[in-house]
Symmetry: C2
Subunit: 111 residues, 2 copies
């Protein structure tokens, strides 16, 4: 398998990071990776079709949020937390912390 291409840490673009996180599936993947640090695509696909998930991983890689490495026959994904934090201090934490609040608000509303 050919290695995936990833942008360098100093090439990350704010708009691209925000776009990558503007989709609930991709936001879920990043939230998951923020908890576990690394995971295979299979562990992150939530039972969704492979083609859909591949596209989302591509967007996340191109934004510089996720590093995908070939490990034998599977792909291992890692959140590029330090790179994103170095380029956009406080951004990822500010976005990911909203997740819980929004989910909590939705649950509260539904109850």
């Amino acid at each position: 398998m050919r290695p995936y291409k990833h942008p360098a840490a100093d090439e990350l673009v704010l708009e691209r990071v925000l776009y990558a996180l503007s989709d609930s599936i991709r936001l879920d993947i990043v939230r998951h990776l923020a908890r576990v640090e690394c995971a295979t695509c299979g562990e992150l696909d939530g039972g969704r079709p492979k083609s859909t998930v591949s596209h989302h991983f591509k967007v996340l890689r191109e934004a510089g949020l996720v590093l995908t490495e070939n490990t034998g026959t599977s792909h291992m994904n890692t959140l590029r937390r330090a790179d994103v934090e170095g380029r956009f201090p406080g951004l990822l934490a500010a976005i990911l912390s909203q997740g819980d609040a929004a989910v909590a608000a939705t649950k509260k509303k539904a109850a």
Copy 2:
């Protein structure tokens, strides 16, 4: 002129806010509004075609970032800072603060 529709403060969706800010023209408009508090569309269009700018304002309104009000023959836009902050604490500040750093980095690189 009919009044514009805006989502209520508790209806704001994180993904929609991030999507609205994932475009450099819209990010510029929001940065501008963060400085001046209110401005007409004309003051914010940067000489771009009206149809393009109208679309961007629609996205910003629907995300709940911008309030557009009819004032006589023009439209006055305001950043819904308190509503966004109430729903997503720290998010807008974290995103807008990146602007300056990214611009500074680009300028530094070009110098």
